[in-house]
């Protein structure tokens, strides 16, 4: 093993959302002096606007740090940032596969949370060295000794010597760097062996084509090399290799142990799949990486062009996003109400919202998203089984023998004073408690079996709201269970709008139907005639609201001949209407689709 390789440390930072992961990443960059102050924006690694706004990390980000350690040696630290939200567990596992170690950040005021556990479990499975760090030590409410004890008790790793830091104040950051150098093993692998490179992420650059974020396990790779994507079975010529600082900086080569990027004029996004193995076309490695398990979407919804948008533009945008986001899946579908569009699969509701917002902001597309749905397993009376993720495809009631729905195991950690609230919430959401365990005298882990369709539908918002933000959630698929489910249809002006159809539990149908009618009544502007809004199961109407006919829409004065002003006003109204969908004679704004999904505090 050459000397340079001995000086490499590949690590991730893992944490529950809001425990300060991104802030710590910023400090590490600052401490190692990789960026000038001017370049150092807050949370530099969260480089998507959307991420910065929401204060969460979605995409993996990578940067190389050069660190002069106490032993006098300069180490090359490759930091791979990870997302912190429950929806993105899959992305965490991908970045961990490129590392030998993980820094586990725990908030010294909050302690272990649901995703702390989930992330530690992932890191442990990959056999990583886990380095616990206590953050927010500067806050008066920090309880370092209790939290250390909690980490040892609930996670089972020794934490009594964990660095106590404040990422925000820049306190004790050096200790974290020293600990990484000491504890994280240098990468194994041999630069003289045939090339073996793991693609752990990728994104699309309009000039360079697909950019693969890679970890080199064996061999070396440089510009001009003929490479082969082993799973895709395609050959390319390397046009550039380099590292992230976090900006892309071309280098001569990447060799065993390195983390960086590879470009090869890859135009088709499908040829640069995350999890694939890159090898040398002339001197290939014998065995490819097993590849990642394909991320399984849990939530589906239809995405359709709003008035005047092009189907093809949406396909292009989705393809580009998919390159960045392996968990996104989509296929064409048709809706009676909305025309041609795509059925897209997401990891969870946040993932869905993020994709929608990115399509809007980065691709400037006006879209309509239908009610989200999970995948139901339907056994028909003739014995055939089908998986239904679009409510419209649910067979006639008479043809259905049983419907099964996905159940998840949900771990919810809450301060003990909110246990009552949360038990009530879970019960309302048809959850069945498996067990309940005290982490300490103040905090409780509740483990529930919950129908996924109750979780995706604003459960997280409800949990946060009912625990003043202190509740945390992690869930994973458990099994399919038989359930009394029905399709709830929504009729606007007596026409079924398939885009609003949803599958709900029979016991919830009436209340859900009322709620949807009520929200649509407020979201759809009055028109020149009365519009009935109805919810029905089969032919039976179970809820109804009316949108009264418009009474007044008049701006009589022309301001001493100011006709331009009036025209502008009308044009503005017209602009607003572009964001509406026409169903028969009724104009429905996009916001109506979203309003149906939002969390209702009274429930």
């Amino acid at each position: 093993m050459d000397k340079r390789q001995n000086r490499i440390r590949n690590f991730s930072i893992i944490a529950h959302i809001d425990h300060g992961k991104s802030t710590l990443a910023d400090r590490l960059i600052e401490e190692t002096g990789m960026l000038t102050d001017r370049e150092m924006k807050d949370q530099i690694l969260d480089n998507m606007d959307l991420e910065r706004e929401r204060g969460i990390t979605i995409k993996l980000q990578t940067t190389q740090l050069l660190y002069n350690a106490a032993d006098g040696v300069e180490y090359i630290l490759n930091l791979i940032d990870t997302p912190g939200h429950v929806d993105f567990t899959y992305e965490v596992s991908r970045s961990l596969a490129a590392c030998e170690g993980a820094v586990l950040v725990v908030d010294a005021t909050q302690g272990v949370e649901a995703q702390t556990l989930a992330n530690v479990y992932l890191a442990d499975t990959q056999g990583l060295e886990i380095i616990p760090v206590l953050n927010k030590i500067d806050l008066p409410s920090a309880r370092p000794d209790e939290i250390k004890h909690e980490i040892e008790e609930t996670i089972g790793i020794i934490a009594d010597d964990a660095p106590m830091i404040s990422a925000k104040e820049g306190l004790n950051i050096g200790a974290v760097l020293e600990r990484i150098v000491e504890r994280v093993p240098a990468p194994s692998g041999d630069r003289d062996k045939p090339l073996k490179v793991l693609i752990f992420d990728s994104f699309y650059d309009s000039y360079k084509g697909a950019v693969a974020l890679v970890r080199v396990f064996d061999g070396t790779i440089k510009k001009g090399d003929k490479i082969k994507m082993m799973a895709a079975n395609k050959n390319f010529e390397v046009s550039e290799v380099g590292l992230f600082s976090p900006m892309m900086i071309p280098t001569k080569e990447l060799s065993a142990g390195d983390v960086g990027y590879v470009t090869a004029s890859i135009k088709n996004v499908k040829d640069c799949r995350v999890g694939d193995t890159i090898t040398n076309a002339q001197n290939p490695t014998a065995v490819a990486f097993p590849g990642y398990k394909k991320a399984t979407p849990m939530v589906y919804c239809g995405i359709y062009p709003a008035e005047g948008e092009h189907y093809d533009d949406i396909r292009d945008a989705l393809e580009k996003l998919q390159l960045n986001d392996a968990a996104l899946s989509f296929e064409p579908e048709t809706s009676v109400a909305l025309g041609f569009g795509f059925r897209c699969g997401f990891l969870g509701l946040l993932h869905l919202e993020i994709i929608q917002e990115r399509l809007d902001r980065e691709y400037d597309l006006d879209l309509i998203a239908t009610s989200p749905s999970v995948i139901y397993r339907v056994t028909k009376t003739d014995g055939s089984v089908l998986m239904v993720q679009n409510p419209t495809n649910l067979p006639e009631k008479t043809q259905i023998d049983i419907i099964e729905e996905p159940i998840v195991k949900a771990d919810i950690i809450v301060p003990s004073e909110y246990v009552g609230n949360i038990m009530e919430l879970c019960q309302y959401r048809r959850g069945i408690m498996d067990h309940m365990r005290y982490i300490d005298e103040k905090r409780v882990i509740l483990t529930y079996d919950m129908p996924l369709n109750e979780v995706i539908y604003d459960f997280f918002d409800a949990l946060k709201s009912k625990t003043r933000g202190y509740g945390s959630l992690d869930y994973e698929f458990k099994e399919y269970r038989v359930s009394d489910l029905v399709r709830l249809d929504v009729l606007i002006n007596k026409e079924v709008i398939d885009a609003f159809s949803m599958i709900v539990h029979e016991s919830k149908a009436v209340s859900r139907g009322k709620q949807v009618c009520d929200r649509l009544k407020d979201a759809i502007p009055r028109q020149m005639f009365l519009i009935p809004i109805q919810a029905s199961i089969g032919n039976k109407v179970i809820a109804r609201e009316n949108i009264k006919a418009m009474r007044k829409d008049v701006l009589a004065k022309c301001y001493g001949g100011d006709i331009s002003r009036k025209k502008k006003l009308l044009e503005k109204q017209k602009e607003g209407k572009k964001k509406m969908r026409q169903f028969g004679n009724v104009e429905v704004p996009q916001s109506a689709f979203l309003s149906v999904l939002k969390f209702d505090d009274s429930k």
Binding site: F529, M550, R551, K552, V554, L555, G560, I563, S564, K567
Partner: protein, 369 residues
């Protein structure tokens, strides 16, 4: 055939609902008058086509006779059939009315708004009901036989009885023309800030329409015809000047923030008085915004403006003017609007129904391409 509008942007006090350009610093009137004279000179070549003259504001009756005369002297009266001036009950005097007669004014428009003194005060008017009666009689005495009164309905806390009293009192005066506007809470006005602070409450759409219907019904009984969305008149007393606007004809706008439509350009003048005066003294144009009305815009404006009139427009005239087939162009829109009883087509003319007037913005919007 063109109209000429002249804006006089001065008021003793700004009404609380008003968002027109107006100033209470009356010391500028003289230099403003000079500036107007300069601007009117620049329209000399159009003067012989002017058929209607309208001096509005603001409060034109704040001008002295000599100031007004200076302005009017710039105008060629050869073809002018209608000359309107807006007056306020508190500032119009016998002397001024005499001057108006001398200068050729043949139509007076007086802002009454309401006859309830408490409400007048609330909306920032300086007159009271007895001033209205007194000045109306004076106007008549001075021989003006074509008078408009402005009425605003939907005032804060206005009751049906109070509106009824307004209608009765105005009917007693028996003007030839009545303009009636629903109170608008314009952004930036004092009244709107009162609304935002919750001190006054805007009338609901239901009340607003009910009030309008009350006015319409009683005016029609007294032989006033609604000839435009917010204007009623006795037969033969329609405002020619306003009809020019609504027939998409050309007009010159002069003065601060005035709007005009000439040679297919809609334009807007400088809205700051001092800047306007300065520009005029430097021989510059007052116009700060111009928009070319292309064929598409012209068609839309034709529909939007003509539909403000109760008799709408003749479809054959539209077809001839634009070399189009109205039915072919707009069959979807027509179908929708007719089936929802917003427009009617009779004897080859398309026009709004009463309901269509209530929701006229939505109707025009349908024709916007």
């Amino acid at each position: 055939m063109r109209g000429l509008y002249i804006h006089i942007p001065f008021c003793k006090q700004k009404c609380h609902y008003c968002h027109f350009v107006s100033k209470t610093d009356l010391s500028l009137i003289d230099s403003y008058t000079d500036a107007l004279v300069e601007e009117l000179k620049s329209y000399r070549s159009y003067m012989n086509s002017i058929v209607t003259l309208y001096i509005g504001g603001g409060t034109p009756s704040l001008l002295s006779c000599s100031q007004l005369e200076k302005i009017v002297n710039q105008i060629d009266f050869e073809k002018i059939e209608e000359f309107t001036i807006e007056v306020n009950p508190e500032s119009v005097t016998e002397e001024k009315l005499m001057c108006y007669r001398k200068l050729g004014v043949n139509r007076i428009s007086m802002g009454v708004q309401t006859t309830d003194d408490k409400q007048l005060k609330l909306i920032g008017r300086l007159h009271n009901y007895s001033d209205v009666v007194e000045k109306f009689k004076l106007i008549r005495k001075m021989g003006f036989d074509n008078v408009n009164l402005d009425l605003i309905y939907g005032l804060p806390e206005q009751s049906e009885q109070s509106l009824q009293l307004d209608i009765d009192r105005i009917m007693d005066l028996s003007p030839e023309h009545i303009s009636t506007y629903s109170l608008m809470y314009e952004e930036g006005t004092f009244l709107d800030s009162l609304r935002i602070d919750g001190i006054v409450k805007a009338a609901t759409d239901e009340i607003d329409r009910k009030f309008f219907q009350l006015i319409q019904k009683q005016l029609e009984i007294k032989n006033y015809k609604r000839y435009e969305i917010s204007n009623f008149s006795k037969k033969g007393f329609e405002s020619n000047h306003n009809l020019l606007y609504w027939s998409a004809k050309e007009y010159i706008g002069a003065g601060v923030s005035a709007h005009g439509y000439l040679e297919r350009y809609r334009y807007e003048n400088e809205s700051d008085i001092q800047t306007y005066i300065q520009r005029m003294s430097e021989g510059k144009s007052a116009v700060v915004y111009r928009e070319f009305i292309d064929d598409k815009e012209e068609i839309f404006e034709y529909i939007m403006l003509n539909l403000r009139k109760s008799d709408g427009f003749a479809i054959s005239e539209f077809n001839n003017k634009f070399n189009l087939d109205f039915y072919v162009e707009y069959y979807n829109e027509i179908d929708y609007l007719v089936s929802n009883n917003a427009v009617s087509i009779e004897n080859g003319r398309i026009f709004l129904t009463n309901y269509g007037f209530d929701v006229s913005n939505s109707v025009y919007g349908k024709f916007l391409r």
